[in-house]
Amino acid sequence: MELPPKVKNILLLDAEGKRIAVKYYSDDWPTNTAKEAFEKAVFTKTQKTNARTEVEVTALENNIIVYKFAQDLHFFVTGGEEENELVLASVLQGLFDAVNLLLRGNVDKREALDNLDLIFLCFDEIIDGGIVLETDANVIAGKAGINSVDPNAPLSEQTISQALATAREHFTKSLLK
């Protein structure tokens, strides 16, 4: 019996429902076709809702999905139907805020694609194999955006400003490309 809260997947889709970054932790969708079908269903179902201020929630195929949108980015976190919605919501909020920090508030598709490495790292720091690893956005952003920070500094003591510094460094890099 699985008692610890489990996340089945994290999805980041664009305004047309296309994949930007996704990560599945459950075998419910074994093939890429199944995954795409699920993403399409989730996107269609939530498309018309306004999830820009508060985290919204819905149920689909015996799953609970919490979601939040920003500009042309759609964030989703899926859990089983028995899951505590608020745990999923805290994961989503953690992800959303961390991405916001890492993209310096410019949360849109273009920035996300430009910094896709950060998004992937962000996913990696939030959930490990379906288990919640961290939900504090500052910690997540700090760990994902580690590039320029003194590697000897303990991770948990990084502050927002450090995280922002990291992000700024990244920004310059992308401009220089």
Partner: protein
């Protein structure tokens, strides 16, 4: 797939949308990956290439084994670079590539070095990567480091090791179990997430040791758990313990309830919800225990956060199924949620209200729902329609307003699934509430006047053909049916012809007019329609002959005895020859559950050849099956069919279950047999029944099963005669007899010679409950008072020692086979007395109501006072006899 992002952006100008991955192509990226092999590494460029590789994988691109190996080997070179950002990406791509065991060796040493690095980020990530890719033998080598990492002062490292432990527990439990001392220490950690991970791992390690888990939870519930996540976990463990304990002891006070209740005052909403949900899910929760949980959920209902509202209404919806009364306090809050922006919340609120609503609030609720229906999606509407159907069956008196509602939404726009749900609901209501019939049929008639779904039209026409002729004025439906012949496609026209014929046959007065109408159909453009019209005309033309009358009736109303699927295969296998196709050779029933079968089949449109099956219940299916067998057709109306009783152990060579069909003066046993031996074909399958222990029964006839191939169930029947209207009971012993033929595995042909064999089945009992049909009443008190008190019989019984009242209530309900009313089947867990209300229909269609009062003394001795009212005093008496004997 190769160029997923080359597309126009509709929001902006005509420019191509910018993407760093525009025109990305796998081959090219794999070429680029060669930079990993450069002697002078460029960390930034390498990171970019890894990002591209990750992007490709993420978009669903797959690498061949060779490609993946190649990438993996070049990636391992990157461990030379000291760049932390690049290292982080290397960890990520290794996890994504999931290298094979022989490849893992290459990176093990690099990762082990990182595991002992001074840099926390390296340590944490190296642990996560290593644990993801290594096997048991390597794990023992690094076990020492992992144990250290668990108690590392850096929480990130510690969490990494603990979470890895959780994953490894699935593959290498014996190793991870050795870490429990370290994990125990980590549970005391001051870092919130470490505590959460440690608690999860510790519990997983000890989950089979009930005592240890109980001790762990006991300690922690008193101490301070820091993180809300860990607290949620603790609540889950606590409710698990409560469940286990309930199975092992029955002491009055529920342990740990206080802890759950105290969590309702936690500052984190996550914890409050978890605790409230845990309380509502307790086995046999009392209303006193429920109240505090319902109160916090009620507060959540008016929260500005949609997730909280959703969570609360979802939980209350569940509670409403078992404790509708407990939820009624929240009804006002829920009514305001009907207009919630989030339609999932609104739908849940409505269905909850429909469950908790009482008879008087139905009309008001329907008014609110009408406004709501227009702006939700079909899938939500279906949920609402289903809820309304059950509401209608619960409050039959309100059928008028509910039926009106259904017919209104039937006229509005909607997809097929939605319309089908509505039609199914109307059909169910018509079947269950006789008063609703004429009204409902007219609604259906109006619907087919403008119905775009062929499947639904044919279903309704078929249903009309069965129900319509028995109404007070059948002629009013003819117009609707005949209109179909003019306006619809061939499939619907053919169905309409069938329906017309049924009216013509059943209603003598309409016959001449129907004949005229059918004659017009002879000129139809479709040959199936013409064929049917001609056929029915000739049947209707045969006046007065009783014999043909009966045949035609069977022809028109009888069902095809064989499942369509089997029929189809048999027809396909049939090769045109001198020998005509024999319907009897088609295997009968496919599954012992015709209901599920029908449901599944109903999804695809039915062909022209056979009239489509109407939506039927299991009972109807049995009724049709039996009336199609000539030997049993004379038994009259089927009173009750029991659920299947298994007569064999699971996984034996032949699996047999039996369904008892009760008629007024007969009883038919339907043996559903399945042959589970692929090498055998059974022929002439019969059940020999010894009724020596059932004196009142005498065997009348039996119907053997001609052939029982592997894995294709079939039925044999045995019929008994019994005194009319008497609830005779008895025990029957059964033996399965048959001829076994070996089947050649290569050709699938059975051998010519068979051997006679028999197989002993378990005994079968006919009990009093078989003569009782569960029929609920919506208002027990009214029904009770409307019964003549003259026919009331009261008596008291001692039921002896029982474990609980609930057990006694269940035992009595089962013996009587009656429907418990108004939720009185649930007994409060520590109650000393309980009243249970039962209702049913006794053989001979006599309505019976029972009021059973139970009381338990300190020695768990249970007494019962049983008051029975029935339409017939002798039946009241019979009920008492049943209880006295049971």
């Amino acid at each position: 797939m190769a160029q997923p992002l080359v597309k126009k952006d509709d929001d902006h100008d005509d420019e191509l949308e910018y993407s760093p991955f525009m025109g990305i192509e796998k081959g090219a990226v794999l070429q680029e990956a060669r930079v990993f092999n450069d002697p002078q590494l460029d960390p930034r460029r390498c990171s970019q290439v890894i990002t591209k590789l990750l992007y490709l994988l993420n978009q669903g691109e797959s690498f061949t084994k060779v490609e993946a190996t190649e990438v993996f080997f070049s990636v391992t070179k990157l461990f030379q670079s000291k760049d932390t950002g690049l290292r982080r990406m290397v960890y990520l791509i290794i996890k994504e590539l999931s290298p094979s065991a022989d490849e893992v060796i290459i990176v093990t040493s690099s990762l082990m070095k990182d595991m002992n690095s001074k840099i926390d980020m390296y340590r944490a990530n190296a642990i996560r990567v290593l644990c993801r890719i290594i096997d048991g033998s390597l794990l023992t080598q690094i076990e020492r480091y992992l144990k250290q990492a668990i108690v590392d002062k850096n929480p990130v490292v510690s969490s990494a090791a603990l979470v890895s432990g959780l994953h490894l527990l699935k593959t290498n439990p014996e190793i991870v179990k050795r870490w429990s001392n370290e994990v125990q220490e980590a549970v005391q950690s001051r870092a919130a997430l470490v505590q959460f991970h440690a608690l999860a791992l510790l519990h997983q390690i000890r989950q089979n040791d009930r005592l240890a888990v109980s001790k762990l939870v006991g300690t922690l519930t008193r101490g301070a758990v820091r993180s809300p996540l860990a607290q949620c976990l603790l609540i889950r463990y606590t409710s698990q313990i409560i469940r286990d304990m309930a199975n092992h002891s029955q002491s009055g006070e529920r342990p740990f309830y206080d802890f759950l209740e105290s969590c309702l005052r936690h500052k984190a909403e996550m914890v409050i919800l978890e605790a409230a949900r845990a309380i509502t899910e307790l086995d046999g929760v009392t209303s006193r225990e429920l109240t505090p949980a319902i109160t916090v959920l009620q507060l959540f209902l008016s929260s500005p956060k949609p997730v909280l509202r959703f969570a609360a209404v979802r939980t209350l919806n569940q509670v409403a199924m078992t404790h509708p009364m407990a939820v009624t306090n929240c009804n006002i809050d829920m009514e305001s949620l009907i207009s919630d922006q989030n339609r999932s919340i609104a739908t849940l609120a409505i269905t909850t209200l429909l469950k908790t609503g009482n008879e008087s609030s139905v009309e008001r609720l329907m008014k609110q729902i009408t406004n709501f229906m227009s702006d939700i999606a079909d899938e939500f509407k279906i949920v609402v329609v289903d809820a309304i159907r059950s509401l209608c069956l619960k409050f039959p008196l309100k059928y008028r307003s509910l039926m009106n509602f259904l017919s209104n939404i039937l006229r509005e726009e909607g997809g097929f699934e939605y319309k089908r749900a509505i039609v199914d609901s109307i059909v169910t209501i018509i079947r269950d509430i006789p008063d609703a019939k004429e009204n409902g049929l007219l609604h259906l008639c109006e619907f087919i006047e403008d119905c775009e779904f062929t499947y639904l039209s044919t279903q309704i026409l078929h249903f009309l053909g069965i129900e319509g002729p028995n109404t007070s004025d059948p002629s009013k439906y003819i117009r609707y049916i005949y209109n179909r012949v003019h306006l619809e496609n061939a499939t619907v026209r053919a169905a309409a012809v069938c329906t017309l014929a049924k009216f013509g046959f059943m209603v003598e007065a309409l016959k001449p007019r129907i004949t005229v109408l059918l004659k017009r159909c002879i000129y139809d453009s479709d040959d199936e329609v013409r064929d049917r019209a001609t056929l029915y005309l000739s049947i209707l033309g045969n006046d007065g002959l009783v014999d043909t009358d009966k045949d035609s009736k069977e022809f028109l109303f009888g069902s095809l005895e064989v499942p369509l699927v089997n029929m189809e295969t048999s027809l396909k296998n049939y090769e045109p020859s001198e020998e005509a196709f024999d319907v009897d050779s088609v295997p009968k029933e496919v599954k012992s559950q015709p209901l599920a079968e029908k449901k599944a089949k109903g999804k695809k449109p039915t062909g022209l050849g056979a009239p489509p099956p109407a939506p039927v219940s299991g009972f109807d299916a049995y009724e049709r099956l039996l009336s199609a067998i000539p030997e049993f057709a004379t038994f009259g109306k089927l009173f009750k069919s029991s659920s299947p009783v298994e007569l064999t152990e699971a996984e034996t060579e032949y699996s047999v279950n039996v369904v008892k069909h009760i008629f007024e003066s007969h009883i038919v046993f339907q043996y559903n047999c399945t042959n589970t031996v692929p090498q055998q074909l059974l022929e002439r399958v019969n059940v020999i029944v010894d009724a020596s222990e059932a004196e009142e029964f005498s065997e009348l006839s039996s119907k053997e099963l001609n052939s029982l191939p592997y894995d294709s169930p079939g039925q044999a029947f045995v019929a008994f005669e019994k005194p009319e209207g008497v609830p005779a009971v008895g025990k029957f012993s059964n033996t399965l007899t048959f001829i076994v033929k070996e089947v050649d595995q290569n050709t699938g042909e059975p051998e010519d010679d068979g051997v006679e064999d028999e197989y002993q089945l378990e005994d079968l009992e006919v009990v009093s409950a078989d003569y009782m049909v569960k029929v609920g009443v919506s208002n027990f008190r009214n029904a009770w008072e409307n019964m003549d008190p003259e026919n009331e019989l009261v008596d008291e019984y001692g039921l002896g020692q029982r474990d609980s009242l609930a057990e006694a209530v269940k035992a009595v309900t089962d013996i009587l086979g009656m429907q418990s009313c108004e939720g009185t089947e649930t007994v409060a867990s520590n109650a000393r007395s309980h009243t249970c209300l039962l209702s049913g229909l006794y053989i001979g269609n006599v309505k019976v109501l029972v009021r059973a009062q139970f009381g338990m003394d300190s020695t768990k001795e249970i007494v019962m006072k049983l008051a029975v009212r029935a339409e017939d005093r002798s039946v009241s008496d019979a009920i008492h006899t049943i209880v006295a004997c049971g």
